[in-house]
């Protein structure tokens, strides 16, 4: 077993490559859970999933079972889904509404804020066991903060605040939420869930990988280099490739990444796309203009970022509008949960269109995501080969520019985003080593 001290960790990550053991070593996975997922800010869920007091959804932070719940007072909390008595999961429903959480094993009950409500048959406990001890609650995750409905939590009592953590990536949340005429989004339109036999980092790398598209998704691209039509009545969608290479406009996309947090994004093509001109869209545009005025509404509808990865576990895609959550299971096993984004205040027909469109691009039976899942599987099998120690992220490394915040900037199909992710990985993994 490798001793994962600071020097060893440093030897595994170089600026343009990472060691293959990052994808296959169970000890590294265990340390990632401890130092990245069970310490720093991670995305837990969205407040539209728990609109009323008593509403809850069960999920995980890293490998720990938790419940995102709106308590009786209306406060959104994240509590551990584990009975303080024997450790059993208290809530085994995916979602629901409750007045109390009741453990099925010995009947202990807990309030929606996680506090112990009652112990069954309490007279069996003697004076040495304090039924009022707060430690007998389910336990609350110490720090829970939301930004425009996106709930993040940190298992560390202290650390950078959420605003500092999100940094410039926060604007990507604004970009999508501002599209809603009511200024809020709704993620309650179901969820696509899939599993792949590969390491979680394969998915978070891929979300902001603009290099793979013409190759991984070749089966969706016609001879003319255009992708299939994604919306009703659309013959073909955007140009993806130009004779085996990424279409020229892709090279103009902004690439940004923060080596301190690991967040990154790929910009949108810098050319204004024609806005649709159908009755549904006109109704939507009128609602947006009524809230913001015509000029600001136009600005909101000008796509700026294609997709953003909030390290380590969430991504927001602005094109096929969705929130994607990466759920590590084991070193070689990962779940991905994909939520369609509906815009509150937009016409129903428009939101229904988003949902339908996402079935095509991102269900487990979709036309896009399935090729990615296959490539993740192939990576996981392939990195066992000892032909090389490394996995490379060197594309565009010479042209990266560091801005005055220490963030990386570049253009096009570079692997800057992944370089930023692994710089952050090394920083997070080394803290406390």
């Amino acid at each position: 077993m490798m001793e994962l001290d600071a020097a060893t960790l440093r030897s595994l990550v170089r600026h343009d490559r990472v060691h293959r053991s990052l994808y296959r070593d169970p000890d590294i996975f265990a340390l990632e859970m401890k130092r990245i997922f069970h310490r720093g800010w991670v995305y837990v869920g969205h407040d539209s999933l728990v609109p009323s007091p008593g509403d809850f959804v069960t999920t995980r932070i890293g490998v720990m079972p938790v419940i995102l719940v709106r308590d009786d007072e209306g406060e959104v909390r994240v509590i551990f889904n584990s009975c303080s008595h024997r450790g059993a999961i208290v809530c085994s429903e995916a979602k629901g509404n409750t007045k109390l959480f009741r453990c099925g094993y010995h009947g202990w009950t807990f309030k929606t804020n996680g506090d112990l409500d009652a112990v069954a048959m309490p007279r069996g406990y003697g004076p040495s066991f304090d039924l009022c001890d707060p430690a007998l609650g389910m336990g609350r995750v110490p720090r829970v903060r939301a930004y425009r409905g996106f709930v993040f939590a940190s298992l560390a009592a202290d650390g950078p605040d959420l605003d500092t953590h999100l940094g410039p990536a926060r604007d990507s949340i604004d970009e999508v939420v501002d599209r809603a005429p009511a200024g809020e989004i709704d993620l309650s339109g179901g969820v696509h869930k899939y599993l792949f036999r590969g390491n979680w980092k394969l998915q978070i790398e891929n979300i902001v990988d603009m290099y793979h598209v013409p190759f991984s998704h070749e089966s969706t691209i016609s001879r003319s280099g255009r992708q299939f039509g994604r919306r009703p009545g659309e013959e073909a969608s955007s140009a993806i490739s130009d004779r085996g290479s990424a279409a020229a406009r892709w090279e103009e996309r902004v690439a940004w990444g923060s080596p301190s947090t690991g967040h990154s994004y790929a910009g949108h093509q810098p050319i204004a796309e024609n806005l649709p001109d159908d009755p549904t869209f006109r109704t939507y545009l009128a609602a947006l203009e009524a809230r913001h005025g015509a000029a600001r509404a136009r600005d909101i509808l000008q796509p700026k970022r294609h997709n953003t990865a909030f390290y380590p576990n969430m991504a927001l895609q602005a094109l096929n509008q969705h929130v994607r959550v990466v759920v590590p299971v084991a070193v070689d096993r990962t779940e991905v949960h994909v939520y369609p984004v509906q815009l509150k205040g937009a016409p129903d027909a428009m939101n229904r269109g988003f949902i339908r469109h996402l079935n095509i691009t991102h269900s487990a039976a979709s036309l896009i995501q399935t090729d990615d899942l296959e490539n993740f599987r192939r990576c996981q099998v392939g990195v066992d080969a000892e032909s090389s120690e490394w996995v490379w992220f060197a594309r565009g490394v010479e042209s990266d520019v560091e801005d005055n915040h220490g963030d990386y900037r570049n253009h096009g199909t570079v692997e800057l985003q992944q370089r930023a992710q692994y710089a952050a990985w090394l920083r997070l993994m080394s803290e406390g080593a």
Partner: protein, 165 residues
């Protein structure tokens, strides 16, 4: 008796149609499978038990005929990684009942149970669920007005899926 009424109430004939339908999928004759659907026909696999609406909630499949055409064109692409190598499938249809007959519209509502095993790169899976068809008799043959498949594990995680159920 009118031929439509005969066909719509003939459980043996309906069952034979369903068996032949899924055999087209096992033989990867996807375009012929699509042609069984009427012009306004659709194929729906919900992601939640008792899901009532394919429009307001995400679905595993929700294809009209044009979408099926795009889907199957991709399945024929030489560089479709998700099907290199392809899934092999075996569908089994049983417990077929005709639940309602609408003579006016020459339609019937059919329930069946479905099991599909698939295999690809060392992974064998079994899918099972209840299937409902709305079939139309056009005077010569059945057309599918809609087909809905409720998998027993519809709200679970899935590894990649390529072939309809």
């Amino acid at each position: 008796m009118h031929s439509a009424a005969v066909a719509l109430g003939d459980r043996g004939r309906v069952e034979d149609f369903l068996i032949r339908e899924v055999r087209l999928l096992d033989e990867r004759r996807f375009e012929e499978w699509r042609d069984l659907f009427d012009e306004d026909g659709y194929y729906w696999v919900p992601l939640r038990p008792d899901q009532t609406d394919p429009d307001s909630e995400a679905s595993l499949f929700y294809d009209d005929r044009p979408m099926m055409a795009t889907r199957f064109e991709r399945l024929r692409h030489p560089r479709i990684h998700a099907q290199t190598p392809p899934h092999r499938t075996c569908h089994l249809i049983g417990n077929v009942t005709i639940d309602a007959v609408d003579g006016e519209r020459s339609e019937c509502l059919v329930s069946s149970s479905m099991i599909m095993a698939d295999y690809r790169v060392g992974v064998k899976r079994v899918f099972a669920g209840r299937v409902r068809h709305r079939l139309r008799w056009d005077g010569e043959r059945f057309r599918i007005a809609w087909k809905r498949v409720d998998l027993i594990d519809c709200d679970d995680v899935f590894e990649l899926i390529a072939v309809p159920f």
